[in-house]
Symmetry: C2
Subunit: 308 residues, 2 copies
């Protein structure tokens, strides 16, 4: 799957990912109205609204981008109905040829981590049959529990040709509280980065990149540079561009010399582009066209900053 991601990036010449993190407040009035007319102001109505909203954005952008990253929390907040919209979104994006990165940040131990891996990347056995529960292509994984938590995901990646991105240095202001603490002269995120390199060592694809990638926030460019060297074969999934303050010029060193090795996420900046002054002329009716323009602008911005 890492090879498909690389292929999609080369095809689109766009090392970006669109974060499908719908808040109900982003969904244009006309979509909310229609969904509520059909299902009432219910969880089902909310789920229908975010699904239709997503579909509009995907239809307007899928030919320009290699991948999407739905954030499961935004669906999970609407309970079962929300998760149905998550699953619909995953399936629809895959049908459009997009690589789907489930931003689920799961992590547990042993058989429990296996259960998450099976549910999101693999297949579960029921009697004599097997079924894929959510079936994303990649998921994000939390490393706090150590190898016991990550290894079951790597095993499923190997079997199913899928991938993961392990949280190394997150983009948020307080990420340093634990991640930056210095251990034997090195910050914790470097130690986690070294483990990512190790966990990914025997799942290297034909592209030369590993099925085990890392999450490193755009908001910490100096750390990104160090981590790039520590994990040369890992793709870096980069949150924090745009709305959170990360600039394209900060991201040069997240990429390798081949112009690959990183994929930069934007969520709100793309999906709610129509709410920005810059794209206000599109209006809420043409919200998806605003998203398309924002994607075009983002690709230009990021590519302008990569040394090739």
């Amino acid at each position: 799957m890492i090879d498909k991601l690389v292929e999609n990036i080369k095809k689109t010449n766009a090392p970006i990912v669109v974060g499908l993190d719908p808040m109900l407040s982003y969904v244009p009035e006309q979509i909310q109205k229609k969904a509520f007319e059909e299902y009432g102001e219910t969880l089902e109505g909310a789920a229908e609204a975010i699904w239709q909203y997503n579909k509009g954005i995907v239809d307007a952008t899928y030919d320009l981008i290699p991948a999407v990253k739905p954030q499961i929390a935004m669906y999970e907040q609407f309970g079962i109905e929300g998760l149905k919209a998550f699953k619909k979104t995953v399936d629809y994006c895959k049908s459009k040829g997009l690589v789907v990165i489930g931003d689920i940040k799961r992590g547990d131990i042993g058989s429990t981590s296996t259960a998450y891996a099976v549910g999101h990347l693999g297949k579960v056995t029921v009697g004599s049959k097997t079924y894929a529960g959510f079936d994303e292509d990649f998921v994000t994984v939390n490393p706090y529990l150590g190898t016991d938590g990550v290894k079951p995901f790597v095993d499923v990646c190997k079997e199913e040709n899928k991938g993961i991105f392990v949280l190394v240095k997150t983009s948020n202001p307080s990420s340093g509280e634990f991640q930056d603490r210095v251990i034997d002269g090195k910050p914790l995120y470097e130690i986690v980065g070294e483990m990512v390199d190790k966990w990914g060592a025997d799942v290297i694809g034909k592209s030369g990149y590993s099925a085990v990638g890392a999450v490193v926030g755009a908001t910490y460019p100096e750390m990104g540079k160090v981590l790039r060297d520590i994990m040369p074969k890992s793709f870096i999934l980069v949150p924090g561009y745009g709305a959170q303050g990360g600039k394209a010029s900060d991201l040069t060193h997240y990429f390798n010399e081949d112009g690959l090795g990183a994929i930069v996420n934007s969520s709100r900046g793309i999906i709610a582009a129509y709410k920005q002054e810059k794209y206000a002329q599109f209006g809420a009716e043409a919200y998806a066209d605003a998203s398309r323009q924002a994607v075009i602008d983002m690709i230009e911005d990021i590519n302008g900053a990569i040394c090739k």
Copy 2:
């Protein structure tokens, strides 16, 4: 909610929690057969089987125990249908007066962490209405992202009178890879423990305990003793007893002098008791009676070790 947990523990004199972590392989033949006859060997069939299995265990034990801890991964692996069984289990346990600890180990940042908190502990707004998605009483939270990740949960706890248990020192063999690393002379888990004490400082219930508790594995008793002192007002949720090797005699120091302050989990040891030699006489038909006996034995074992 922490006060309800304390009240339930006092009422039952049982500082234990039953982990409802069903593997399909634990579910007795007769239950699987009936579910598959009704729904086929499908995700729906699997979900029905684990729900009926859970219901049997809850019916046979609810009068003896204060709380249950369903592990969401075990349901999530069956996709949407599995999560419906999770929700049914949560609702049923609450209807029986049990405190429900959703073992979800979520953790993200800002609005995303809020979405998880809202989905599992709070209420989401849809137009002019509000709905509870999963509605557990407590959930477990991963601290790797720092205060940004935990604070949104604490805010929802305050509004909704709910609680959380933050992962501090997990029970698994590799938990030390990151959690034990020494920072300024202190292991990371102690630093996380200090933050738990801080995060919980303004959500103290009438019982004197905080809505912010901690997860500390039974398999590391020396660390449990230190952490008890660092977080005097936090309840400790203790996994790793029984199947993972933790003994009751190791747990004395997880409790405060009032005999409270910890709640010990057992999952497989209770729910799959009928598979152990000790309870084999019950047989698969009476699996729930085996679970009841295992609960009685566990309560005696734990109470024997608490200094009161």
